[in-house]
Amino acid sequence: MSAAERVLVVGGGPGGLEAARGAADLGAEVLLVEAKAELGGTPWEAYATLTPHLKPTRELMAEVVGQVASHPRVDVRTDTRVVASEGEAGHFQVTLEQGGARTVESVGAVIVATGFQHFDPGRETQMYGYYEYDDVITLVDAERMMQQGKLVRPSTGAPPKSVAFIQCVGSRDRRIGNQYCSKVCCGIASKQSIEVKHLVPDAKVFIFYIDMRMYGFWEDQLYWKAQEEHKVNYIRGIVTEVIKKGDQLLIKGEDTTMGRPVEVLMDLVILSVGMEPSAGTLEMGRIFQIPREPHGFLATVGEPLDTVSTPVAGVFVAGAAAGPKDLEDTVSMGGAAAMRAVSFLRRKASQSA
């Protein structure tokens, strides 16, 4: 097949799915490569519901997953990795590996949508005893429980009477090395706080934060809703440490707006872990020689008006591979990347004709 109208999309999450659907609908042939067995990416795998409307993830994503999987111009390769690339814009020779077998594919343009991974609370230091105490979990661990329709203390299997979210774990922290805000964790914690109250109505829920970053409609859809309708307690101040006390967790922080220390016992502590570039994103940066911007994500040129073009001609990026993004950003970038990739190839074809 000619590379002229063929686009490689790497990653089958929300950004890659939208990019694949968009490019194929514009008439290009799309090769969609996903390392995992299923399409859908991080939300599909790890999130019970999506922010901000608390609707089930798989129900919401089923349409785009189905359309991409059955699209006549999309060639989906799951359990497949991109392992090498040669050539240049218009004529990339990309090596794929699936179950030990390698094939070489010709593509004209590339959209990298390999996303993020959640910050590991044990990466630098053992933050908040995540690997020490059963009842210290992350947002992702909480989502996995909610996928099964429950929220319990891992130590006992019983519903918690008190729950504390700690924000900015792995974000906005010079010592950790991540100076950026991960953008979505305030919204996800607020979303989860509402879900905690649905699952365990009597639980007291606290969110310890530096700033609540609830831009746009999330303000009243999530923040006001959690605080006003569900009486979630937002306390400005970051917890310094979590200590085991009896069968509970003592969290120590400052209630900065009240000007006094806080030491309270919790049944469950949920760490709002931020975003870092995924291993796949770093690997694609290496293979396609895309520079990384100062925070470590894939660099784009032309910000703020062009969000998807990388410094490498013919290589575009969509979603959290380029930095912390919410779903709306990710899907919008998927569409923009599809449009730019297809128009890039057509302009190139008309110039050489």
Partner: protein, 230 residues
């Protein structure tokens, strides 16, 4: 933190806290607090006293029974009830929360409330028996030395000075202005029937009894049932 009111039981503090939060107005006076401080910035009392309408809202939102009890004994009397704090972007009404807290404090006859309002019993008496808050004859030289020497001249010839005022209804010395008898009877009936008079029973029993007698006599003379219409 050590409690300032350690002699008062937790149960009692919790009971008063519930009276505040279960008030019918409470939910529309406290939605959720940004803790932004705009209410403090707008508050005239906060400029002069160690007083913060933000902390009132926060203590209630945090369900801090201990601190709310402290505030109900102390902070609430530093508020001038001007409602500048309605500037709140969340639509909270810290001044209204203070209104509720004051009412709970008065209805329960807190010792500190009696102390805070001790200087006002004369004014309460004046309002409830005459319908006006102050009267010209309260203006005496020794009571208002800061008003200057002319206070004596005015006090000595009060009736003349008052007659110099254009409205005839202000030619009074024991009242701010002439209140019609019918108006007084209606006010007595309202204060009796709505329980407003009973609010001060916990605060100053003697004052309450005197006023109740004044009101009952007046109502009986005019053939109005002091027990109310129901």
């Amino acid at each position: 933190m050590a409690s300032t009111y350690a002699d008062v039981s937790q149960d009692e503090k919790a009971r008063l806290f519930r009276q505040v939060t279960q008030d019918a107005r409470f939910d529309t006076y406290l939605y959720g607090c940004y803790e932004c401080g705009i209410c403090v910035a707008a508050c005239p009392s906060a400029r002069f006293y160690d007083f913060s309408p933000r902390k009132i809202a926060q203590a209630l939102a945090r369900e801090d029974v201990e601190l709310v009890y402290e505030q109900m004994n102390d902070d609430v009397w530093n508020c001038s009830q001007c409602f500048s704090c309605l500037r709140c972007p969340r639509g909270n009404n810290p001044g209204g929360l203070i209104t509720i807290m004051r009412e709970v404090a008065v209805n329960n006859g807190l010792r500190t409330t009696k102390e805070a309002l001790a200087g006002y019993t004369r004014i309460i008496y004046k309002i409830m028996t005459t319908g006006t808050q102050v009267s010209p004859d309260m203006l005496q030289e020794d009571a208002f030395p800061d008003w200057g020497p002319q206070v004596k001249e005015v006090a000595d010839h009060l009736a003349v000075w008052r007659r110099a005022l254009p409205p005839e209804t202000m030619h009074t010395t024991a009242l701010s202005w002439q209140v019609e008898e019918r108006t007084m009877r209606e006010l007595y009936a309202i204060w009796k029937w709505t329980g407003t008079l009973d609010m001060i029973a916990q605060l100053d029993e003697g004052l309450h009894d005197i006023m109740e007698e004044v009101m009952d006599d007046a109502l009986e003379d005019s053939g109005i049932d002091a027990a109310g219409p129901l």
